[in-house]
Subunit: 211 residues, 2 copies
């Protein structure tokens, strides 16, 4: 996804939710400054049917994918919260966003809130105000993005831009290490087989000489 | 959705899940016997990416909607369960299914597990075996649908066929009652206004006579 270090990449960050769904598009790359391309919040009425609300969110996301053409989508990973009903809606909205991206062959990565906070502020336990403040500074915005869902969407996109190359390099390094380990194991096995074969030959030749 | 009592309706029931997603199509109507049209379980590998898994489920549901052309979709409403991770996946899969249906303008209704159990067995606290047993009998199947997710999907469709007309009639009755209440309130308000106007006229005419 990020073949060259420092290549400019465009990411759509999504803070999923039925009542407010934050969308933020950010350009950037590892070791590059980040630029805000677009940010908004999609709202759906609480009295609308669930399927209708999901459809509106899906339509908005499709529109953003059409207009901004991001190369990857970063979605907040939801864990259990206080309100089970809210969590369900959030998960459903997140699932719909992931589906939209997958339909276009775009990579979708889920980041936890603490990963996002750590990437943007340096601390996984930063509060909303700190996240919004850092997002505003990093993107050199003239005013703070509001509501918090908008700032969170931008934070997700930044987190993805900075975390994903690291994660991919780590995965590549692990894969290489695993390959080396497999090669070493195969060499050991071949050597053991060879020893066993030679031992058998020795026994056979021993038998032959005894006959 | 069910304009005439007893009209034949086709419903797709979905027991959402990432590992196993139950799909069942049932024909029936209020006061009619129910017939199984199709039943299956879509599986997605646990090691695949979430977005890929959601895409496979979505593709399968789209295919079923194309082939069986149901008039409504019934999805299990998920509440908190023991495993938060499983619940999230279930909610995401359910959201994707609702989106697919909404895209085609099909009504999507979520039913709770206890509503489904009550509709099929008469008890909201029936166990899995009782639900499967009743589904098998109601649909006159030669063998029990397996796994449980397949039986649950059929139970959802049956629940929808039997509950939804009731629910719609109840909603219609409630709407009519609300209309009557509004009309009555308006009549009272008009009468009060009329009384106030006549009282003011009397006062004015009293003043006039006093002058």
């Amino acid at each position: 996804m990020f073949p060259d270090r420092g290549r400019q990449v465009r990411v759509l960050g999504v803070d999923p939710g039925l009542t407010r769904c934050g969308l933020g598009v950010v350009d950037g790359g590892l070791g590059r400054s980040v630029t805000c391309v677009a940010v908004d919040v999609v709202r759906t009425p609480a009295d609308a049917e669930l399927a209708t609300r999901l459809l509106r969110i899906s339509d908005a996301v499709e529109h953003w994918l059409d207009v901004h053409r991001p190369e990857a989508v970063a979605v907040e990973r939801v864990f259990s919260q206080h309100n089970v009903r809210t969590v369900m809606g959030t998960a459903q909205a997140g699932g719909v966003v992931a589906l939209n991206a997958a339909r276009r062959g775009l990579p979708v990565v889920f980041h936890t809130p603490s990963e996002v906070k750590a990437a943007v502020t340096g601390s996984g336990r930063a509060d909303k105000a700190q996240v919004t403040g850092m997002v505003t500074r990093l993107l050199k915005l003239e005013s703070q993005p509001k509501p918090a869902d908008a700032a969170d969407a931008l934070a997700l996109a930044i987190c993805h831009l900075w975390r994903e190359p690291m994660r991919e390099r780590l995965a590549a390094a692990e894969e290489k290490a695993a390959q080396l380990a497999r090669a070493h194991k195969a060499k050991l096995a071949a050597a053991a087989k060879d020893r066993a074969r030679r031992a058998a030959d020795d026994t056979n030749s021993g038998r032959n000489t005894r006959r």
